[in-house]
C-alpha cells in the first residue's frame, strides 16, 4: 500500500488559522458568558472562586488582581461542577460552604468523584472543628476562615505554587 503525502494548499493554512482563532475566541467568550466570570492572568495560572455573595466575590477579585493569576467565578457549587464537566481546568479552587443550589461540601465531593485533583481551599465564616472536618472529609485540601486577608491569600497562593506577584 502506498501512502501519498500531498502538500496542503495555502488556503488550508489560512482556513486553519481562522478556525483556530475563532475557537480560541469562542472559549474566551464562553468564559464570560457561561454563568461565570473570568479574567485572564498573564502566567496562565487559573483560580476558580465558588462563592454566592457578590460582595465577597468583589473583594476576592480585588485581592487577586495584584497576583498574576486568572480568576473565574461561579455563584454556586453546581456551576463549579458544570465548569469542570465542560472541560475547564484550574490550578486552585476556593470553595465557599453555604451556597444555594449546591453547597460547598457537595460540590467538593462531586469534583473529587469526577477525578479533579486541583487543590480545593474551603472557605467559611464558621470555624467549628466539625465544619473543617466535614470539608476535609469531602475532599478539600485546607480550610480557611472568611473573610480572607491579603496576607492569608498570599500564603495560600505561595503554598500552592501560584504566588507570582506583579512588579
Amino acid at each position: 500500500m502506498h501512502i501519498l503525502l500531498h502538500q496542503p494548499p495555502v488556503s488550508f493554512y489560512i482556513w486553519s488559522f481562522f478556525v483556530l482563532n475563532s475557537t480560541i475566541a469562542r472559549i474566551c467568550f464562553s468564559l464570560h458568558c457561561d454563568g461565570g466570570r473570568a479574567s485572564m492572568g498573564s502566567t496562565g495560572r487559573r483560580v476558580l472562586l465558588v462563592e454566592d455573595i457578590e460582595i465577597n466575590r468583589m473583594v476576592m477579585r480585588r485581592l487577586l488582581s495584584d497576583s498574576n493569576v486568572g480568576l473565574e467565578e461561579a455563584e454556586n457549587g453546581k456551576i463549579a461542577v458544570d465548569f469542570i464537566k465542560q472541560g475547564r481546568t484550574y490550578d486552585l479552587i476556593f470553595m465557599d460552604r453555604d451556597m444555594p443550589v449546591m453547597n460547598g461540601h457537595e460540590a467538593t465531593k462531586q469534583l473529587r468523584s469526577l477525578g479533579v485533583t486541583t487543590p480545593i481551599i474551603a472557605l467559611s465564616s464558621d470555624c467549628l472543628p466539625s465544619d473543617r472536618d466535614r470539608f476535609i472529609h469531602a475532599g478539600a485540601n485546607a480550610f480557611q476562615a472568611k473573610p480572607l486577608s491579603k496576607i492569608e491569600l498570599v500564603r495560600i497562593l505561595t503554598e500552592y505554587g501560584l504566588n507570582i506577584t506583579r512588579a
Partner: protein, 151 residues
C-alpha cells in the same frame, strides 16, 4: 475647612467606630485594597452592601410579618447578610446575624423578630456613620488633602 482639621475628624470618627465595635479590621483591609488603580473600591463595595442590605431587610420584614414562617428562607437571607457584613467589617451586624441564625434554627419567630429589629438598628448605625466617613473623605480630597490610612 482646614485639611488637617478634616483629617483629624476623619481619624476620630474611624477610631470611634472601631472602639465601639461598629467596624472591625476587615474595613481596614478594604481600605488597603484601595489605590490609584482602584480609587473608589471601598465606596463601591459599601454601596453594594447598602443596596443588598436594604433589599434583604425589606424581604425579612415581609416574611416575618406572616404567622407562618419558612425559617429556611429567613436563614438563607440572614446568612447572606452575615456574609456581606463580615466582608465590609460591620462587626456588630455580623454578631446580631449569628444570634438571628440561632433563632432560625430554633424556629423561633419572636426571637427572629427581635433580631430583625436589632439588625435594622445596627445597619442604620453603620450606614449613617459610613456616609459621614465618605462625606469627610470627599471634603478632604476637595480641600487638596489625602485620606489618612488606619493601621
Amino acid at each position: 475647612m482646614e485639611v488637617a482639621h478634616l483629617q483629624r475628624r476623619f481619624i476620630d470618627l474611624t477610631t470611634t467606630l472601631f472602639q465601639q465595635g461598629i467596624l472591625d479590621n476587615q474595613f481596614i483591609q478594604l481600605q488597603q485594597l484601595q489605590d490609584e488603580s482602584n480609587p473608589n473600591f471601598v465606596h463601591e463595595v459599601v454601596s453594594l452592601f447598602f443596596q443588598d442590605s436594604e433589599k434583604l431587610l425589606n424581604e425579612l420584614s415581609r416574611i416575618l410579618d406572616h404567622q407562618i414562617v419558612d425559617f429556611k428562607i429567613v436563614d438563607a437571607h440572614v446568612h447572606q447578610f452575615k456574609g456581606s457584613s463580615a466582608s465590609i467589617g460591620a462587626q456588630r451586624i455580623k454578631d446580631v446575624c449569628i444570634a438571628f441564625r440561632s433563632c432560625c434554627e430554633e424556629n423561633n419567630r419572636d426571637g427572629c423578630i427581635r433580631c430583625l429589629q436589632q439588625v435594622k438598628q445596627e445597619y442604620c448605625l453603620v450606614k449613617s456613620n459610613l456616609e459621614d466617613l465618605f462625606r469627610l473623605e470627599k471634603q478632604i480630597l476637595a480641600a487638596g488633602g489625602s485620606i489618612p490610612t488606619m493601621q
